[in-house]
């Protein structure tokens, strides 16, 4: 499994769940792997096979632009991810196994650091 496979499976999940989505969305110096929109809420997803620290460092920045920010991690490496830390930081966590099964490990909290101008900019990507 590589990050493209991960993305494909995840995007299918979003489609099934009636999300609008965009992939590889550039915001400031970030490149958000997947952004989903549902019921006027923005969800930013950082997909990672293994580098959990980088995943957290990226995902927290997405809290500037989106209502909810999540990490989607390959199940084999999920044990490395510090779930408690993710919870403290308000990040959601999904795990994805090699068979393509996706499960939600941690629900994201609504971001408390949304920068309105950036939020607007990300919303425009869906127009």
């Amino acid at each position: 499994m590589n990050e493209d496979d991960l993305k494909q499976i995840f995007v299918n999940y979003l489609k099934k769940n009636n999300f609008c989505f965009r992939t590889e969305v550039g915001m400031l110096e970030c490149r958000i792997d997947v952004v989903g929109k549902k019921k006027r809420k923005l969800y930013a997803y950082e997909l990672k096979i293994e580098h959990w620290k980088k995943a957290i460092q990226q995902a927290i920045l997405y809290q500037l632009f989106a209502d909810y920010s999540c990490i989607v991690m390959y199940k084999e490496n999920l044990h490395r991810l510090r779930i408690k830390k993710c919870q403290d930081l308000g990040l959601g966590v999904f795990s994805l196994d090699s068979k393509g099964h996706l499960s939600c490990i941690l629900q994201p909290k609504k971001s408390t650091i949304i920068n309105p101008s950036l939020y607007k900019r990300l919303t425009k990507k869906f127009e």
Partner: protein, 433 residues
């Protein structure tokens, strides 16, 4: 001598920042390509700014093989200023540069230095710097006239002004990878030949080399013996980064500065960073920085313009952070807002309280990352320098320990992915002093 902070003029739109903050730094570094291409503009600028300056001859650029951007023709075409700079070179070098980069053999005759060419090269470089400097005295006389007139008419005391003049001459330099590199031999010859050019101002050599050279202590002595004949030496340790390099490398660079400095030779770091600030008066007499960037530099990267990413200097860790990270940092820690004059002015102009994420967001929305970030850097960095040079070694160590603790409490390494291990290396090195 008071330690000196020099700012490097990179683009013309930095003029206003440098003028606005001229009380906060000691001098300027002007790239020779800039000085030749914008001759009139530079002379006006220097007059306006009234600060001492020196010229970076940038001669190394013409000897990078393969050239940093595609081919030598690209340097010439992409950057007209380099072509203009070549016009001051001896004819023989000009014609070589039309075809290819310079190679050591261009300066050798049967493995001996071509002193005739080296002397011509030196002469051309001194003449070039004299010409740049020559424009300013006339203007100085004009300003003296106006000062005299104002004295006569208003009978008030005119504040003594800084002098805008060449502080010292610099000589051509090339990058050498080892002391066996022919470019070392040529640089050494340029230095020894330049001794006979007696000037009205000091002459400084510029040494540009690989950091590995310094790991052998014998080489530090060799460098000293070979380059001890002028009043000062400017160092550019290729790709030296005090934040990421090993303790051994940082120590060796420090030792090199000390070696010259203990022998009353002025030492300047051409691409300094915060570590340079820490060792001012401890081996280093001054350092140069670009406005916000240029803490370290590789020989092969030359600036050919183009947009820089949005960055903001975070004095807490002495680093430039990209916009998303800096927005995150201040959105998370709203109470830590920067208090420099630049940021204060923006805050008051937009009536922000900076106690909410909305205000932090608005602040960065109106923050001009191409200009304000440079101004913010000059204000904050000059404050840092002012604070550090008044501290003892012990106090500096304590300050670094405290900074590191705070940064870790704020989880800067974990959240922002910033490696702060340099604090331990710096502290250890300073403790050994």
């Amino acid at each position: 001598m008071n330690p000196k902070l020099y700012f490097r003029l990179n683009i013309t739109n930095e003029k206003n920042i440098l003028r606005q903050t001229k009380e906060l730094y000691d001098g300027l570094v002007i790239g020779a390509h800039f000085a030749s291409f914008y001759k009139n503009w530079i002379s006006g600028f220097l007059q306006d700014i009234s600060k001492p300056y020196f010229i970076d001859p940038l001669t190394y650029i013409f000897a990078i093989d393969p050239p940093p951007i595609e081919n030598i023709d690209s340097i010439m075409n992409e950057k007209q200023s380099f072509r203009t700079l070549c016009e001051s070179y001896p004819e023989i070098l000009r014609s070589i540069l039309e075809e290819r980069p310079l190679i050591p053999q261009d300066f050798l005759i049967e493995n001996n230095p071509n002193t005739k060419l080296i002397n011509e090269f030196l002469k051309s470089q001194f003449k070039f710097q004299e010409e740049v400097d020559g424009i300013s005295p006339a203007q100085k006389r004009i300003s003296e006239y106006f000062e005299f007139e104002s004295l006569k008419e208003e009978k008030t005391t005119v504040k003594t002004k800084d002098v805008c003049e060449l502080e010292f001459y610099t000589i051509p330099y090339f990058h050498f990878q080892s002391l066996e590199d022919p470019w070392y031999y040529i640089t050494k010859t340029i230095h020894s030949e330049s001794i006979k050019f007696k000037k009205d101002k000091p002459i400084y050599s510029i040494l540009c080399f690989n950091k590995e050279i310094l790991l052998d202590e014998k080489n530090i002595n060799t460098l000293f013996e070979d380059f001890k004949n002028h009043e000062g030496v400017i160092f550019w340790v290729h790709n030296f980064n005090s934040k990421t390099d090993s303790k051994a490398v940082i120590k060796s660079v420090f030792k090199l500065y000390e070696k010259f400095n203990k022998n009353q030779i002025k030492t300047i770091d051409l691409y300094g960073d915060y570590f340079s600030t820490l060792i001012l008066n401890k081996g280093l007499d001054g350092y140069c920085r670009s406005l916000g960037f240029g803490e370290y530099k590789q020989v092969r990267t030359i600036s050919i313009g183009g947009g820089a990413p949005n960055r903001y200097y975070l004095p807490e860790i002495h680093a430039n952070l990209p916009e998303a990270k800096i927005r995150y940092y201040y959105s998370k820690y709203t109470h830590r807002t920067c208090n420099c004059k630049c940021c204060r002015d923006i805050i008051s102009q937009h009536k922000l309280k900076m106690d909410s994420v909305d205000d932090i967001s608005k602040f960065f929305d109106v923050f001009n990352f191409s200009l304000s970030s440079k101004l913010h850097f000059v204000y904050t960095h000059s404050q840092e320098m002012k604070r550090i040079i008044n501290l003892s070694n012990e106090e500096i160590i304590d300050a670094l320990i405290k900074e590191n603790e705070i940064a870790n409490e704020l989880e800067i390494p974990f959240l922002l992915g910033e490696d702060l291990s340099f604090y331990d290396r710096w502290i250890n090195i300073l403790r050994e002093k």
